[in-house]
Amino acid sequence: MRIHQYEKIWIAGAMILIVGFIVTITYGSVGLGITMIGDEEETIAPDELNDDEQFGEPRVEQVGENEYAAYVVAQTFIFQPDPIEIPANNEITFYVTSRDVIHGFYVPGTNINAMAIPGQVAELTVEFDEPGEHGLICHEYCGSGHHTMEGLIVVQSEDEFDLTELSAETPDTVAPGEQIQLNATVENGQLEPLETTVNAEIGDQTFQQDLTVDGKSTQNVTFTADSTQLGVGEHDWTVTVDDYEETGTVEVVSNETDEQAGGDES
């Protein structure tokens, strides 16, 4: 074959470019540790998502020191959970699947980009350096409401972030002289023990108790108030743990009324 000298030079140049591109990308993979979404995850049938241990309740979970897993379900036309709250400076592994059609999982302004394919689970690990809010959008056409499909990723500072959940309850009504029991439950979803203080108010009575909740467990606290001191009528109560607050009311009713309204409590 007769090939002109100049063209031979260019063929060599073209090969240098091609190899150069491949070398750069390989450097990105090996040198910088950028991984591709792979096939490591088990497949999952979309109609079994609700019964699945991980996707039945889409959530963020701590799985190790500085490591979190976020189970995300994409479906027409929402993401679950929404918002997705995660800590900064921690490794977050997103597990993304779809309940119905093919969706996208894309955080504009970042390199977080994946397809959510029914039956498949995309696994991608990222780390946000700074607290802040990022939009999360579906970037694959998924039906008529595709353009409304968005979520929010809230990156909190490491100190601020927790997986604490607070719930509290009292009876709706008590008779005068009975004790009002306020039950508060503090759940710690993180691995580290949670040392905190529970503050409660029932009417004008205040309570305080220090509490240590072990990692991945719950603790109950009960505060008791005397209804006679509070008097007949409605009383607001509040429980706070760190930034979480639960409120409600309890009513102290006179005996006659109580009898008339008997059975309300049961």
Partner: protein
Amino acid sequence: MTALFVDEYPAEARLVKAAFLSSFIAFGIGALFGIIQALHRTDIFRFIDSIKYYTVLTGHGVFLVIAFTIFFLVGLYQWAVTDSLERGPVDIRFTWFWYGLMAIGSFLAAISILAGFLEQPPMVLGAELRANVLFTFYAPLEANPLYYIGLALFLVGTWLAGIDWFRTWWAWRDENPGERIPLRTFMVLTTMMMFFLGSVGVIVSILVFILPWSLEITESLNPLLTRTLFWFFGHMIVYFWLLPAYLLWYSVLPKLSGGRLFSDPLARVVFILFVLLSTPVGIHHQYMDPGIAEGFKFIAMTNTMFLLLPSFLTAFTVVASMEHGARQRGGEGRFNWLQALPWRNPAFTGMALAGLVFAFGGFTGIVNAGMNINYLVHNALWIPGHIHAQVGTATALTLMAGSYWLVPQLTGNRLVGRQVALFQVVLWFVGIVFMTNSMFRAGLVGVPRRTAEPQYQGFEYDVPVGSMGELNAQLALGGTLLFISAMLFLVLMLLTVFNNDSEPIVDGTLPPALSGPEDSPQVLDNLRLWFGIAFALVVLAYALPLAGIVAQSGLFGQDIPPFPVSSEAVMYLEFGLDYVGALVT
């Protein structure tokens, strides 16, 4: 001056004209849909419902990249085979048969898409007639079965076209034993070998999985499998769009420049490389897909990078052929020869500008193909930027420029409005640069593709330079220029067709290459060998990923029912909310 194509081969010219007519009708509708989108998604002018936007988007994709490009391709290739073998098809009725199949197929697909504009689409084949599933029709989004039937008929027609050209060549070979395959026929045959191999994916996907499932014969399918089969076809098809432009660059552009093709052997090598490499790379469209191992993605990446080679070779050969013309026309100097090129000829200028856009648009393709860097751009507006630079200009502008040269030879009429034609191709060039520049920049800040309203409530794009408003304005401006240019082209074509009683001033002869086929080894013409190697490469690249996908979630997936795309958004919102409700309680 030799006889015009229409005088020498009147029967074949009729078919080429019919194919071009179909192509230009599709081009007109597609261009109209294009400007609607440009104005809608930038929120500059919205006159349709955002739900209907997806009907427009599907139409834009299918009409332009299936009907416009492929109808033009079959017309151009029929011309190339006839003109370079100097003989017609073995049986012209067969030729009309495949054209008819393609026409019926595209008509069915078009009807099912356009029915999306109706408030109450009729029921056809047990489902509402609509196909808002985009050009990629990713299952489990479901279109009316008619859409898939239309696509299948169109594909079958295209296969038969390839078979027709092979038959013509076999007949010619018997009449001319021992002769080298003429270059243009060589390009046609290699393109079609590539198409046969690569379209197997989408044909299996439609006939085995999607069509039976949409007719409720099968109950479930594997979305990753049908998606992978689509992309098995989906990157080959982009070269199927491009190779007609390559054929024009290699055969017509040197002549228009006033010179000769620099190297016939390298042109053959380029087309063989496309046969070998354009199919085993499809996984580079699936870098972000779960269920495909990173190793397969890496292999697809390296294959894709080597697929740059034929385009790099083309850049040199074609520019050198142009330079040869310029120097024969008296051009001098290192760069001054560029001035000696026939810039006032719209056919030349259109192709040259298309080539320029292709050279730089190709860069964005390298980014897309670059595996990990694909995180930056996957499904962002960058991607349509790339597509519009490549198919939307390298191909479309070359085809328009080629029409200015070819249509007069097919009709026997003189081209109307040469100056307007020159303005038209230059306008396209300016329009595409405005539009794609905006798309690339918007893509880099995270604006997604394929959406009616890339404006979200929960966040703002972080635009480092300028503003979203400016990017939108630039995109809409570029889109408008492109639309005007497209309409100008169609008007000129129409006027030319009716410009009777005139003599074209086109010389249809193509000069031989500077370095002819005799400079290349005979083995280049051994099509069977190249097809065999290409087949082996495809098996190597796809056997394991496909086996992996099937092993993981089965040939027919895990209970994945159809998901009809209705215009009733509310229905699906409720569907989604039901799940949320179920979770909360």
